[in-house]
Every structure is written in C-alpha cells, then in structure tokens.
C-alpha cells in the first residue's frame, strides 16, 4: 500500500493527521508531510478513513 497526496488539492486541513498522526503531519509552515508513504497493511482501515474524510479528496491509496 502506497499513500499518494495530490498537493495541488491539499489545503492542510489536518483531518488526516488527526486520524493517523503516524503517517500524516501538518507542520507550522502549513504544509502536509507524509511521514510514511508505505504504511503497514494493518493501517489500511485508518488510511481509508483518511481518504474518505479529507475535505479536498487529496489522498489516494495505491495498491
């Protein structure tokens, strides 16, 4: 599983960070950083939640 963020869409609402702080981090520069682009399979449910809850639908899961 690979996490892909479309940075043209991302508006740094930080919802994903609230769901999975081990994978997503919005820093003080207001940009989102993906801390782990290939999370373990046991994080899939949280990743799907992040995809669903992103107000900009800027997150995709590949694989």
């Amino acid at each position: 599983m690979r996490i892909v963020v479309d940075y043209d869409l991302c508006e740094s609402n930080a919802i994903c960070m609230a769901i999975a702080p081990d994978v997503f981090e919005v820093r003080d520069d207001d940009f989102l950083y993906v801390l782990n682009e290939a999370p373990d399979e046991d994080r899939r449910e949280a990743m799907e939640e992040a995809v669903q809850r992103c107000p900009k639908q800027a997150i995709a899961i590949e694989g």
Binding site: E11, S12, N13, A14, I15, M17, A18, E25, V26, R27, D28, D30, Q52, R53, P55
Partner: protein, 401 residues
C-alpha cells in the same frame, strides 16, 4: 434483512451514505434521488475555487465516474421527491408513489431570501452550482462593485473571492461582528480585522432596509440611512431545511427532520446532513449542523443505522468541526462555544491573524478556534473528543509554543 435502500438527496450526505453502504457490504439496490441534474458535486468550492474562476465546475464533482460506476447505484438525477407516507412505507417521486424498504433523507437546505428581494435580477444567493455560475458570469462580464449581505460563511467567502478578482466589496452584517454568533464578539472582531486588512468595506451592526435597481445599477439602503451602490448583490443570511415535501408524512418536523440520537426519524427512516435535527449526547443540544464534515459523518452513521437493529444502534456523537477559507486565512473551529465562555489565545497572535484559541466553561474545554493553525485545531479536536478539562488542555497547548 433489508433488500433495498432509497436515499433522497444526491449531495454530500446522500452520496457518502450510498458509498458507505457498499463499503459495509450492503449488496441490495440503492436508489439515489437528486433534484439537480448535475452529477453530485461538492459545495465548498462554489464559494472558493469555482467562483474565483480557478476551477471549472467539473473539478468539483464529488466522486469521479470511474469510482461511482462500480457501486452500481440506481442514480436518478433531475427528479424530485414530492411526498412521503411513513405509515405505509411509500415515497412519492415527481408525484408517482413508490414503496421503500429503508429510507435515508438527505435533502439538505436552501438559502433564506431577503424579504422584498425575491425576483430582483441583480440579487443572488449561493447554494447550487447554477447559483455560483450566475455570480461568476456577472464578475466575468465586468461587474466590479459588490454588496454582500450577511458575513457568515458564504458571505465572507464570496467577499474574499470577489476582492481577489479585483472587485470593490461592501460587506453588511447585522451582528456587531462577523461570526459573532458562532465565535463570540472578541474573536469575531479578529475576523472583522481580516476583512478590513483585505480592503473590504465592512458595515457591522446595521441591517438592510431595501434593495432596488437592475444588474449593474443596484442600490442597497441600510437602516442607518446610508446607501451603497453596486453592480450586483449577494445575500448570505443562512438556510432553511428542505422539509416542505415531508408535511403530512408522519415524521416530526421542527426546523428539520427530528431524529433520535441514533439518526432514526421513524421506523425504517433515517436523516442526515443539513436537514437532520438530533440531540448530540456529547453536548445534550438538539440542533441541525450545517457543516461539510457533519454531512459526511452523519451520512455514514445514518446509513449504518438502517442496517442495525434498535438494540445495537449507537448514538451519533461527533465533535463538530468546520473550516472556512477567507483571503489567505484558514479559519477552523472544533467544538461548540457557548456565548459566555472564557476565550484564551494559546498559540500565535491575533494581531498577526495566525493563532489558536481555546474556549472554556466550568473547567471544561468547549471549543478550539484556529486561524492558519490546522495542526493545533486537530489536536484540540482530539482533546474535545476525550472530554479534556481546561487545565489539561492548557498543559497540552503549552507545548505548542
């Protein structure tokens, strides 16, 4: 075992509900009925990127066709639910009765209009894609003086986009400050300052007496006797829930469809999104919540409720959250402040329009406000979910600096 589910309302809550049913393994028929002819689209960009002209409308689509198709939905667009009889489990669509098995009501809300302006060509509201494109067309055609009535989400964002397009904007708000009802006057004043810093002529604490004229030559008279000339007028004074079609249905209507804490409105009938009124056990407050995130979460919760027995049903108890993009500022609020709450800035500075603030009452944290502070708001939201105390929250915030 439920065989089919009918969802009335093909916007955010309705579509996310349908998607969630499939994800949860529901294999029966799902009918999704919407009165707009467009493919289901997302509304926040209508007062932002689409109005600005940065996005074409297609980009605001909620779920692209290639993801929608595998769900096998019976998508019926451009048709309207016109009646309901809960007792005999019958829906009426464009006047034709049809039985339902499980029903999810997500008909949303429509704009409140300013009395006396109905039918005036130069006066716009903004809720639908067509509304957005009508305003955009006027701006494209050279309209550059705009009066916005109401400094809530829609008004503030429209003002922001219009300023970005070079228009001269007068923003009229009846309350003493923008967002005063939601944020209180102190933080409302900070929002007012942001508008002023971006060149908006903000008139607070004053109502509108009349609006007259034709597109390109409108006049808005205020109750203080002043008048403002404009090419076009946008009214953003709130919404009313779309429940007219439910009169006589057997459901309880009171500023929305009244639901129990699990989103159930009647046996086999649930409601979600702007139209649904329920008591959130977290706050004990019976209310409708008009935020984007609530439509997503409540749509999913209500959909699951239709597949759950009464014994297993869970209450819907979210921490409300919204965001609003105005100029280059992102305003986010998690939780629900009370009018008399203590407000404390815990990070950044209001002068720089970049800060996080806590609202508290009786030793509890009630809400977290951020201006360009998304990380802190989301951490604050987690504190609200845990029911954090005021002192505990301050300790967490002390580490932000």
């Amino acid at each position: 075992m439920r065989r089919s589910i009918t969802i009335v309302g093909a916007s955010l809550a309705g579509l996310r509900a349908a998607e969630s049913l499939r994800r949860d393994g529901f294999a029966g028929r799902i009918s999704l009925i919407g009165d707009e002819s467009h493919q289901p689209y997302d509304r926040p960009p209508l007062s932002k990127q689409v109005l600005a002209g940065d996005w074409e409308p297609e980009r605001a689509v909620l779920t692209p066709a290639e993801k929608l198709e595998p769900l096998g939905l019976d998508l019926r667009l451009g048709v309207r639910a016109t009646g309901l009889d809960v007792a005999v489990r019958e829906l009426e669509v464009d006047g034709v009765p049809e039985p339902f098995d499980g029903l999810l009501i997500a008909t949303g809300a429509r704009c409140r209009t300013l009395p006396g302006t109905e039918g005036l060509e130069g006066v716009h509201t903004l809720r639908t894609l067509d509304d957005c494109l009508a305003i955009r067309a006027e701006l494209d055609a050279g309209a550059n003086r705009m009066v916005v009535i109401g400094a809530g989400f829609i008004g503030a964002e429209v003002a922001s986009v219009a300023v970005g397009r070079g228009a001269a904007v007068t923003l009229v708000e009846a309350l003493p400050a923008p967002f005063a009802r939601v944020l209180g006057e102190e933080m409302g004043a900070v929002v007012a300052d942001v508008h002023a810093a971006n060149g908006v002529d903000l008139r607070c604490g004053v109502g509108v007496s009349t609006v007259s004229g034709v597109p390109g030559a409108m006049t808005v008279e205020l109750v203080d006797g002043s008048g403002v000339d404009a090419d076009l007028v946008v009214v953003g004074i709130g919404v009313v829930p779309n429940t007219d079609w439910l009169e006589g249905s057997g459901l309880t209507l009171d500023d929305g469809v009244v639901c129990d804490p699990t989103c159930l409105a009647a046996p086999n009938v649930v409601a979600a999104g702007d139209v649904a009124r329920w008591t959130n056990p977290r706050t004990g407050e019976s209310a409708r919540v008009e935020h984007w995130d609530n439509a997503v979460e409540q749509g999913r919760h209500a959909a699951r409720r239709l597949l759950t027995t009464d014994e297993e049903a869970e209450a819907f108890a979210p921490v409300p959250w919204f965001w609003s993009d105005q100029y280059d500022r992102k305003i986010q609020l998690a939780g629900r402040p009370n009018p008399d709450d203590e407000v404390r800035v815990v990070d950044g500075s209001t002068d720089e329009h970049r800060f996080a603030a806590f609202y508290g009452c009786q030793g509890r944290l009630t809400a977290v406000l951020g201006m360009n502070r998304p990380r802190q708001v989301m951490q604050g939201r987690a504190l609200l979910e845990q029911g954090a105390g005021w002192d505990e929250a301050l300790e967490v915030a002390a580490e932000w600096g």
